[in-house]
Symmetry: C2
Subunit: 339 residues, 2 copies
DNA sequence: TTACCTTGATATAACGTTATAGCATATGTC
DNA sequence: GACATATGCTATAACGTTATATCAAGGTAA
């Protein structure tokens, strides 16, 4: 145990050659049952574990993939990761997670490091401000890549959410409840995701002949949601409902309402996005657009596996629909009742 | 660009030998300024990136480390990870994160995979129920290892929190406010961390001649905190204050109180543990035992680096103190005022 | 018998690096 | 001018695997 066990050590102990050991352990080639047993027992005795660095260097195969994500602390992301990891680990892959914290420089560093270490696949939520050289870097090194949520380039497979459809549905729900002044709260930059969500919100307003779209920025945390809602209410006290870019923002917004004595779902209605665990636990329980993070994670894993196995298959784009989950933070407009 | 660039490709383009390229790019050996420039330009032209698998195989050096953690979705952990990653990435390391979700089997799989892939270092929150063979696996393969939070084995370096001291302080704070019936809420199994925290709580009670320790289980999520607090209140309506095993539980407990019309900090006082972002954002703002996750993360990274550089140094144990942050969820006992 | 196939193993080369040693050529010293 | 030393580069081997080719021994068919 003083020396790292290698094929050579095992071979010596079993009294056979190195290739024999390699084949016996992997079940390839023509090895008699008897020597196979000898080899396996020797390997166990020495606690031998294949050195994958050496193996993958020779064989080209590589069961290490990475998930480069924009915000690890977001519980929705954490749940997606669970789904991905479950499926890929079952297939013998090692999934490692990198957090860019939406910093393009950090992301660049991480991806270069990623390529240098020769990972066999990439699941990727591209940072805001990712530039073209990053895409060509990945293409040049032939990294099988699936983008997630942010569909930034037609050369990569993609798995995402039907964002415009979802916010349209959320907005329509509020309008059906009689709300006339519906604002959009959340996001800070014009990512594709946010653009799509806002466009669904706007289209719904105009389809219903309500023509005052109002979009307000906020980081995707409870704290920022609280602060932004405060400023929004000060600037536009007339709004009676909001569609949020994420549950964390929505929960923060509910807190803001409660602090000034308003009840979410009575004076002001709130719709979230994601259906994280806390949405159900909050008081009042949050109405939200639910997407199953585990289902998304599985889909992601499946697409990546397909791409790894068939590098030349045509690029695929998969989008899953969100589902409106009506809980307690949405209710009939007070104005509508009054009029 | 059709072929993966290697030292050979670069050497051919620059018109020099392979070792020359290797040395020129790393700045070792004796290379003239002129050829160095030639080589660097050729490398850039081909988008050459060192294949670390091959490099580390030959040189033995390995700048890949892993952080094997028990619960990725916990925001406190996410913040610790940030601290670790900041420091290690600056030193040229690639940090990848694995989530055991506190499942010993999964953890075993992940660690074996981890070793096979030859990682150069490990930061580790061991799962509940980790058995001895796992420790010896890590020792046998000489993986530089630092345990975090759960100090399970004297053969690894450790970074953790002064848990008993912290809960003692929290409990004393409640007692000073006049509370006589203080319960402990959170955790599900007898991990070392929880044992230490409970012992601090108990010692404080007995030091103050209050002899009714009451410990109640709960998973470390808001939802479970809510449910557990409900059952606790039903079983023991007399309690006037609780010390919690984590902020998530504490926030859930506050929700439970609010649902039945009680105000945290008035009828029942609540102290959390961790000081996650939401502790400040909650209504009312959560009193908690604060440990700086970023500071912990940095410490972790430093200890690991030291261990990697000096594999034979004596084992170190570092513990940081938590600090009582008094906010709004703790207040004078109503009984004390009445009597 | 000769020719051919099957079985069970091994020898050898290769993956892309880096460490070591070696070999010219230029520079300095006495 | 002879010798030592410094400079700049290259040849070679090695890291631990796996892929390919090869080889000996035994079995089968004509």
């Amino acid at each position: 145990m003083v020396q790292k066990p290698t094929l050579e050590t095992v071979a010596k102990l079993a009294g056979v050659s190195i290739p024999t050991v390699s084949q016996a352990l992997r079940g390839t080639g023509r090895i008699s049952e008897e020597t196979r047993r000898k080899v396996v027992s020797a390997a166990q005795q020495l606690h031998y574990l294949t050195d994958q660095k050496a193996a993958s260097m020779r064989s080209g195969e590589n069961r290490e993939v990475g998930f480069v994500i924009n915000q690890l602390s977001n519980p929705f992301n954490a749940e997606v990761i669970s789904g991905v990891v479950d499926l890929l680990e079952a297939e013998g892959y090692l999934v490692s997670i990198l957090d860019t914290r939406d910093d393009a420089n950090r992301q660049r560093q991480q991806l270069e490091s990623f390529i240098r270490h020769g990972r066999g696949g990439l699941l990727w939520v591209p940072t805001v401000g990712t530039d073209d050289t990053t895409y060509s870097l990945l293409r040049a090194h032939r990294v099988p890549t699936v983008t997630f949520l942010r569909n930034v380039s037609p050369s990569f497979d993609h798995v995402g959410i039907r964002n415009a459809e979802a916010t349209y549905q959320a907005t329509q729900h509020l309008i059906n409840l009689g709300h006339k002044t519906v604002a959009y709260l959340g996001g800070t930059q014009m990512t594709l995701v946010r653009r799509d969500r806002i466009s669904g919100y706007q289209k719904c307003l105009s389809d219903n002949s309500l023509c005052r779209p109002l979009v307000w920025d906020s980081e995707d945390t409870r704290l920022e949601g609280l602060n932004s809602m405060n400023t929004l209410l000060k600037a536009h006290p007339e709004i009676s409902a909001i569609v949020c870019n994420g549950d964390m923002v929505a929960l923060g917004a509910c807190l803001a309402l409660q602090r000034i004595g308003l009840v979410p779902g009575r004076e002001v209605s709130v719709v979230g996005f994601d259906d994280i665990q806390d949405a159900e636990a909050a008081t009042p329980r949050l109405t939200t657009m639910a997407v199953s993070p585990v289902k998304l994670g599985r889909k992601l894993a499946q697409v990546l596996l397909a791409r790894i196995r068939e590098p030349d298959m045509p690029v695929t784009v998969s989008e899953v629909s969100a589902e409106l989950l009506i809980r307690e933070t949405t209710g009939p407009s007070q104005n509508a009742v009054a009029s």
